[in-house]
Amino acid sequence: MRRKQIVRELKVAWAIATKDMKIYYLKTPSLMFGILFPFAMFLSFVVGRDMPISRAIPVLVAQTVFFAASSIGPVSIPIERRLQTFDRFLSAPVSLLTVLLGKTIAGFVYGVGISFIPVAIGLAIFGSQITDLVALTMGMGLSAFGFAAMGIMFASLPGQGPGQVLMPLNFVRIPLLFISGVYVAVKDLPSWGQVASAASPLTHTIELIRLGLGGENFFGPAINMAVLTFYLIAFLIAGMRFHIINQKRD
């Protein structure tokens, strides 16, 4: 009985995810904040610097996972709240966790799908090599899940449009780039910066992806995965709590 219910809830989560893929992947804010933004930021930091492209590829992959995965929830949920289509989920015989899981899967697939492009380009053109497939897979997959859940959590902020969620989200996303060892390696950060970077989920994403593509790792893959798993669970729980608060308030 319990197993049947779990299978049913997973099917519903997948149905919500595929519906979101059809509707929101090509919406302007998704393309803008999920694809254009990380690519533009990457180019502005890399162009003119004396850095081989193959070393820069992990940075681009990590940034793309980060921005793409965390953009779908903040685009879909405010739009659905405004059009009251989100009410369809709240009045359906499924748990709130299933609904948020469906939304998270949509962000996850977007994040992994988009970030696979720079990986493929790096492998095909710039001589990147996969030295640790598990680290790369976990770096992309686990991070995409976590960042998608982070987007869902931010999407619970009151607001009737994606801009009202994406703007505060960017206040968090952009500073994280500077403390997460993306442009300056963690070992080169001052000690306070290393402590701060340890707390950032993006640090552990870039660490795993660098390891996967033949680079250095400061904290170790086990810690990277543990921290990302912690954030994934924390974002999902916080997202649920915030959505329940919204239900009480609405």
């Binding site: 059809k22 059009l83 009251q84 289509t85 009410d87 369809r88 709240l90 009045s91």
Partner: protein
Amino acid sequence: MCAECVIEASNLTKYYGKFCAVDHISFKVEDGEIFGFLGPNGAGKTTTVRMLTGISLPSDGWATIKGHDIQKQSVEAKEVMGIVPDISNVYTELSAWDNLTFTGQLYGVSKADRERRARELLEMFNLYDRRHEKLEDYSRGMKRRVCIAMALVNRSSILFLDEPTAGLDVQSVITIRELIGKLNRDGLTVFLTTHNMEEASQMCDRIAIINHGRIAAIDTPERLKRTTKGLQSVEIAFETMNRSISEDLKALSSVTEVRKQGDKFKLYTDNPPSVLAAVWDYAKAKGLKLITVNTVGPSLEDVFVKLTGIREEPESGARKGLRGRGRRTGGMQ
């Protein structure tokens, strides 16, 4: 708990900050009835529906759907209901077919069954030929029909309809009312919120009148009308009009109030025969030709106005935001 009741609300309350939108309301809806929830804008109708359907959580009180607490056994409660909110919350980027099949997936309906059901409903709602078109190309009435069809995909036995005909053209209104009537005859329980008197009077088995978040009365439309004594009236129109007529009519014996409604006057009274005789004498004395005389029983609108305290300025014609007609009991035209 009531055995025959499919919806039961007890002390249901909703606060928005310090503002009490729904104030400890209690009611029961029986199996197979059309239950009207009538009230002016902002009375608490939509908030009540949102609490009954689990979309919003109540600040206090509880509600059950077929005996299942909407908060504690929400999955069981939600499985048997369909919801049509006050706006058509369809996915305009998807086709009618995709909207229906997606809703079937949300309710855990098997692929074969949801496709069969989508076909049945789209045929019933005359939308099957355009099933693959995106809803952004549909008219408002067509979107409304898709929205109602989506609420029936799971073969729900209780349908919540929040202002289902608001803002639609006459043909769409008639079509939707006929569909609701047919679904009810087939055994569906309907919880209908509206501020349309005519709709409530024509369609509902029982009506609850809600105002300022509180239920003012619950009864059948006809019993509600009968409880409102002193709201009988005589409706008259003269061939020619002049400014003094209204003042003259007010002075007639047994007339308690005069309202000008377009080219007619409505004379409120608790003694229609006496007013008829006085009007006849007045017309004769002034040389006016009567072209319309009707005696009108209290309408649901009258009951509503009395219970909610909504009043317009005297002689200002039809009441704002309210539609419908009184119960004509006789007359000439």
